[in-house]
């Protein structure tokens, strides 16, 4: 951990169509940290990850996000990726007709081009693919198939972490990576994330349940409710949620607005 700030989000607001979903998010993340963002359904967890990654379906209506000194919100999704942001999708998209190999080659070479580096040679690329596949035990056969097409739920999530391993992001956002995973797949995926962790990068784990946090240990736990972070604490906060559910948070928040 250091004093250096990797991501600083200030009063971030966003809407989809005409509905405001994020109502002023504040978040500070330093290299080496793992942050968990928890919250009930509809609290804005996935919206936050989409907005940070630059999904054009969402409109930022206020606030700012600074990523290692760069104005993140001013960048295209592809440039955010080049700058080191990675989103592991809750529902990885199937792309029939685009092979995993071509997909990853395009991604890797686009990043190299961004940094004025020549494209990777075919043999270096294949060697790297082999190494990175090992991180999550991804079957070689999947690499020759179309992106996510016909992959099982577990294979799709492994594939996300494989891509993360290839792109070596400075900040990875794992959006409900545990959803749809059985316990063995969860262990492999979480193990992959832990292998990729260094004191130079950081991870945001968005999850519904405490379960994933048994495998990926957070330094901070934030509770998102109605588009705001209403509690921040250590790992014990996740355990408390697991025990008491979200209702006490909801009740306390409703009381606050009632008093105001």
């Amino acid at each position: 951990m250091s004093d250096e700030i990797l991501l600083e989000v200030k009063d971030l607001r966003a809407k989809v169509e005409d509905k405001e979903i994020l109502k002023g998010i504040n978040l500070t993340i330093r290299p080496g940290e793992v942050h968990a963002i928890m919250g009930p359904n509809g609290s804005g967890k996935s919206t936050l990850s989409s907005v940070l990654a630059g999904n054009p379906s969402f409109t930022v209506t206020g606030g700012e996000a600074t990523f290692h000194g760069v104005d993140l919100l001013a960048l295209s999704p592809e440039d955010r990726s080049h700058e080191g942001l990675f989103l592991s999708f809750q529902y990885p998209v199937e792309i029939p007709g685009v092979s995993m190999v071509n997909f990853m080659r395009a991604a890797v070479n686009a990043k190299r081009k961004y940094f004025d580096e020549p494209p990777m040679s075919a043999s270096d690329f294949l060697k790297m693919m082999r190494q990175k596949r090992a991180v999550v035990d991804l079957d070689n056969k999947l690499a020759s198939r179309s992106v996510n097409e016909g992959f099982s739920g577990g294979e799709k999530k492994r594939n996300e972490i494989f891509q993360m391993a290839v792109l070596e992001p400075r900040l990875a956002i794992l959006d409900e990576t545990d959803s749809g995973l059985d316990i063995d797949a969860l262990r492999v995926v979480a193990g992959g994330v832990n292998k990729l962790k260094t004191d130079r990068n950081a991870t945001i784990v968005i999850t519904h349940y405490q379960r994933l946090l048994d495998y990926i240990k957070p330094d901070y736990v934030h509770i998102l409710y109605k588009g705001r972070i209403v509690r921040t604490g250590g790992p014990e906060l996740a355990l408390e949620l697991e025990e008491r559910g979200y209702d006490w948070i909801k009740a306390e928040e409703e009381n606050k607005t009632g008093e105001a």
């Binding site: 054009p56 999704p77 990726s81 792309i95 007709g97 395009a106 991604a107 686009a110 990043k111 792109l167």
Partner: protein, 451 residues
């Protein structure tokens, strides 16, 4: 003055020259063509059923000349090979405008029972047995072609002969003045014969208007297998009216694929008559349009025998201001039992300016069939696009990858691996902007850079 009149006048005025420079079997067709066209008075236009989206009359309106005197127009044949993919050895015939040019690959390489030659070198009686005798009735496309035709390509594979090397026909437009080329290809596959043919249309002189009036007649004998793959890589100034007619005898299998990569205005018509029992018919097409390209495919498959299986897949990707049309008709005739016939047309519009018109149809005259048809037209998948961008793939490249991916299942319809590879490669070039109207030189350079 209508577009047709200039060609009728030309044929009348130069009749003796036309006849003098063409084999007798072709000359015999001119009277009927004249009579038909005199009565028609114009080529099909938007007021004719089936031509609503493409007026042939408009396509042929410019003052195209016809090379009735058989003036030898120089062509850089080697240049067209620059678009070729290495490691594909074919038996090659070149058609310069409408003149058959044999290449050295044909000399000494044709197995016994295989002919790849000019229509001029086919015995008169034999040729008469083929001309106009494949599928379909006599119509304007056949009449215009027959009126002006002086040469063409004959591919004959005798009974039981299996030709393993593909035959390639390279159609090249070349010359300094607007030209119409009447082109005819006859494919005669005898009983149990097998042949794969790749035809590609190129235009070598950019900026000059060219028109092709082409008829392809395929005769698939009993248990014959014929694969036909037609690639158009022409220029925005090229118009093409190409009609493919195919008749299938018992147990034959044909696999026809047409691809329009670059063009001006193209109207392709497929007429297939399944006359024998137990035939298989695969018909697929792809069209990639940008700029102001227009591509119209029309298909008619008629099942008049039993136990036939036909499958059609046509896919279009249209960008910028390109437009496309598809009309497909399946007919299962009275008394034709146990047929399966499927048709699908799927289209991707990549811009607000692109337009697609589609009309799939079925005519079924008995109960004992399995048929389906369907058409969809959609846009690029936004979720896939964002997913790719989030991995760092620039939006333009991601769009191209998705458009190319959309065509993958058409490519997979082709049997011959070398042809599949070639088409895949050309698709990649097409979406990289390196083919057809950009000039063959571009292909050449890309090819060797990639290698």
């Amino acid at each position: 003055m209508g577009a047709l009149k200039q060609y009728i006048d030309l044929a009348r005025e130069h009749r003796s020259t036309l006849d003098g420079n063409a084999p007798a079997a072709l000359n015999e067709g001119r009277e009927r063509a004249l009579a038909f066209l005199d009565e028609a008075r114009r080529l099909p236009d938007g007021s004719d059923e089936g031509y609503e989206k493409t007026s042939v009359e408009e396509m042929f309106k410019p003052d195209f000349g016809v090379n009735v005197n058989r003036v030898n127009i120089p062509v850089n044949v080697a240049r067209s090979f620059r678009c070729d993919v290495p490691n594909i050895t074919t038996l090659l015939a070149v058609v310069v405008n409408d003149r058959f040019v044999a290449t050295s690959t044909l000399q000494g390489n044709l197995p016994e029972g295989v002919r790849v030659c000019s229509l001029r070198d086919v015995p008169r009686e034999e040729l008469e047995g083929y001309l106009g005798r494949s599928a379909g009735g006599y119509d304007a496309a056949m009449a215009l072609n027959s009126l002006l035709l002086q040469d063409g390509v004959f591919i004959g594979v005798d009974k039981g002969v299996k030709l393993h090397k593909p035959v390639q026909i390279v159609n090249i437009f070349s010359g300094g003045v607007p030209l119409l080329a009447p082109r005819r290809v006859i494919v005669a596959a005898g009983e149990g014969a097998e042949v794969s043919i790749l035809k590609c249309d190129h235009t070598q002189t950019p900026g000059v208007k060219f028109a092709s009036s082409e008829i392809v007649e395929i005769f698939a004998g009993e248990d014959a297998r014929v694969e036909w793959c037609d690639l158009e890589e022409s220029t925005p100034d090229t118009v093409r009216w190409c009609q493919l007619r195919c008749c299938q005898q018992r147990g034959s299998r044909v696999n026809i694929c047409g691809a329009t990569l670059t063009n001006g205005v193209t109207r392709n018509e497929y007429l297939i008559e399944v006359e024998g029992d137990g035939c298989e018919t695969l018909l697929s097409g792809m069209a990639i349009g940008s700029g102001r390209q227009h591509i119209d495919n029309s298909s008619f498959i008629c099942h008049s025998a039993d136990h036939g299986h036909s499958d059609q897949l046509f896919k279009y990707v249209l960008d910028e201001n390109a437009s496309g049309a598809f009309e497909g008709l399946i007919e299962v005739a009275h008394g034709a039992r146990h047929n399966e016939a499927y048709q699908s047309n799927r289209n991707l519009l990549a811009s607000g300016g692109a337009r697609m018109h589609t009309r799939p149809q079925l005519l079924i005259y008995n109960d004992d069939v399995k048929c389906s048809h369907g058409a969809t037209t959609g846009q690029l998948d936004e979720a896939a696009l964002f997913y790719m961008r989030s991995r760092g793939i620039p939006v333009d490249e991601a769009r191209k990858m998705l458009m190319q991916a959309f065509m993958v299942d058409v490519v997979s319809k082709i049997n011959l691996e070398t042809l599949r590879d070639r088409l895949r490669y050309l698709l990649e070039l097409r979406f990289a902007g390196g083919c057809g109207d950009v000039s063959c030189q571009g292909c050449h350079e890309n090819m060797f850079n990639d290698a």
